[in-house]
Amino acid sequence: MDNVIIDLQHVSHSYDGKQVLDDINLQIRQGEFVTLLGPSGCGKTTTLRLIAGFLSPEEGSILLEGKNLKDVPPYKRPLNTVFQRYALFPHLDVYDNIAFGLKLQKVPSDEIDKRVRKVLKMVSMTDYEDRNVDSLSGGQQQRVAIARALVNQPKVLLLDEPLAALDLKMRKDMQIELKEMHKKLGITFIYVTHDQEEALTLSDTIVVMDRGRIQQVGTPTDIYNEPKNSFVADFIGESNILNGLMIKDRRVRFAGYEFDCVDEGFGENAPVDVVVRPEDVQIRKDQSKSMFFGTVTSCTFKGVYYQLFVNTETGYELMAQDFRQFEVGSRVGLCILPENIQVMNTERICNTFEATVVDENHVEFLSYEFECGHADLPAGSKALVTVSFGKVDLMDHQEDGMIAGEVSSILYKGDHYHITVLLDSGDYIYADTQDIWDKGDLVGVNILPQDINVARADD
């Protein structure tokens, strides 16, 4: 791949001891529109700032056209950034904002004039050069910010959530304009956003990130149709994500039923995650062609289609879409085609922690000494503790728990919630529960002694 322009090799970075990027490897090709997509705190903006040079990576290297950027300060990098909230200089007018970079390079003033006018025309802001930037609307400021970056003819344009501050209509229009600009200029765009729809619309390649790691790299279609894990599936579009069991190749059990599918190579009786997009949950008028049955619990008009929630006879809730309206309470037949079932390796089947045995009834992990049923290991030895998701108790008040944390994400799995809790110690613990929690809730975490399984750590 000789047309790689930006190459991130084993890049790691942390803030105040908190790991925000963990071994990022990413190649970006010349002329590509690449989007870094993920929830806030996933490391996407940090990645962009590392490329721009506002941060230097603690580990790993960043290469531009094969040259290491390590000792190149941001003002010497042939890259330009469009900032979130634009960062236009309020003391300069539109013209001087755009000419700022060129003036620093001592470009002759007639040349500056020519180039400024050209970019102003490109962003459709001709006649605005004397305007005070504070007097511009959000969309206009956005255009000036893009013009200010492009006038320097960067090799790569970095865009940090540039449309986040605009209203929906404006955002849609700007998306189209950005896409066209990219086509016309032929330079590389690296775009950061948390808006999955924006990413799907704009990008050639999407890089989905979470918790400092790249979760999946692919074209928009790949990412939507073939999510690699439950995080990607949940983050991109709407989906039903369920625990499943791969019975054998091309046969999977989930939601209390067995289905044919197209995936193989998971082994026999292997726990997996199953993703079915709501538009792939088909509602059959003709009940004889149905694979299973359920009761409609809600039916909401969404403009083009109705969004339905259906309770299956086996007690799972599925999201479906249909063009027809169904009565709440009505019984419907459902069908999922094999090719619409996406089977993925499950990341974990229970909580696993490295621990130290304190005595035969106590074991220390997550910086807390837990009572356990019986540890058959000598005091002081290393052990591996497993706790199943369902045995992790979440309490309303942090002080009611043995350890405290904050709900960091919630995944609905059809009949229960899979909650990720970021503990004060910086570790994660996962809990399955019927209770509804919100992201950011402060919780206490309890584990009963009999639910802590201690095993020898084999190293």
């Binding site: 040079g53 230097s56 300060p73 941001p74």
Partner: protein, 257 residues
């Protein structure tokens, strides 16, 4: 690339020299005798010096009385000034702030001269009056600031929930304006407890306050005792700051807008 956080370094070094070190020196001098040996002599001397203790008590008394008077007179004034119903003019506010910008000695002297011409005998009464006159703006301004910036919807919410104007004032406005009162207290109490020239002018040298004693000792080269007295003053200041629950931001916030 030099991190911008290191830009504070020159100032940090400056402060270590001109803020921290001088305070340490007060401590060092306070616990030294004339020939530079460690000693409790100076501190003990204060506690056996009944004049010094009386002056100290008087300083505290005057400072407290002044602060209380400033709150009693200043709070209503600040409230009226911040109330759009009663005051729409910026000029009145400027008039209240203006004295803060004029040299305090000059204002004090003017007051003292006025008393003289009016034939009022200088003493504790004129001292208090002059102090209130000097420091009232420093109480009014921070309270006015807080009241003026206070979201009107708090009062409206209270009214909506059935509070009468009196209750709105006591249960909402007053508690919410406490930060302003606190910085007012800091800005009035601290300077009054330590004042020296002002008290001399206002009482024609009849009443000495604690600051005067410090100054007299330093001026007559009794540095060690002067340092010990300063240390005692520092304790009072530290205690006041601690009680008002603010690390100085309040005072600063009031003064430095």
């Amino acid at each position: 690339m030099i991190k911008r956080s290191s830009w504070a370094l020159p100032y940090l070094i400056f402060m270590i020299f001109f803020v921290a070190l001088p305070l340490v020196l007060i401590l060092v001098y306070a616990f030294q005798d004339g020939s530079g040996n460690f000693s409790f002599e100076n501190v003990l001397r204060f506690f056996s010096d009944s004049d010094a203790i009386a002056t100290f008590a008087l300083s505290l008394e005057v400072a407290i009385e002044n602060t209380v008077l400033c709150i009693l007179i200043g709070y209503p004034a600040a409230w009226i000034l911040a109330n759009k119903k009663y005051n729409r003019s910026a000029v009145t506010i400027i008039l209240f702030i203006l004295p803060m910008w004029i040299n305090a000695l000059m204002r004090t002297l003017a007051t003292a001269e006025l008393f003289n011409v009016l034939g009022i005998r200088l003493g504790k009464g004129t001292l208090l009056f002059g102090m209130v006159y000097d420091y009232l703006p420093f109480m009014i301004y921070p309270i006015y600031n807080v009241l003026n910036k206070m979201d009107k919807s708090f009062a409206e919410a209270a009214e909506d929930l059935g509070a009468n104007p009196f209750q709105v004032f006591w249960k909402v406005t007053v508690p919410l304006s406490m930060p302003g009162v606190r910085s007012g207290i800091l800005m009035v109490f601290m300077p009054t407890v330590s004042t020296f020239a002002i008290s001399e002018f206002l009482t024609n040298g009849k009443i000495k306050l604690f600051g005067t004693i410090i100054q007299e000792n330093i001026n007559s080269s009794m540095w060690n005792y002067g340092a010990a007295l300063s240390l005692i003053m520092l304790m009072i200041i530290g205690l006041t700051t601690l009680i008002s629950g603010d690390s100085g931001k309040a005072a600063a916030g009031g003064a430095a807008i």
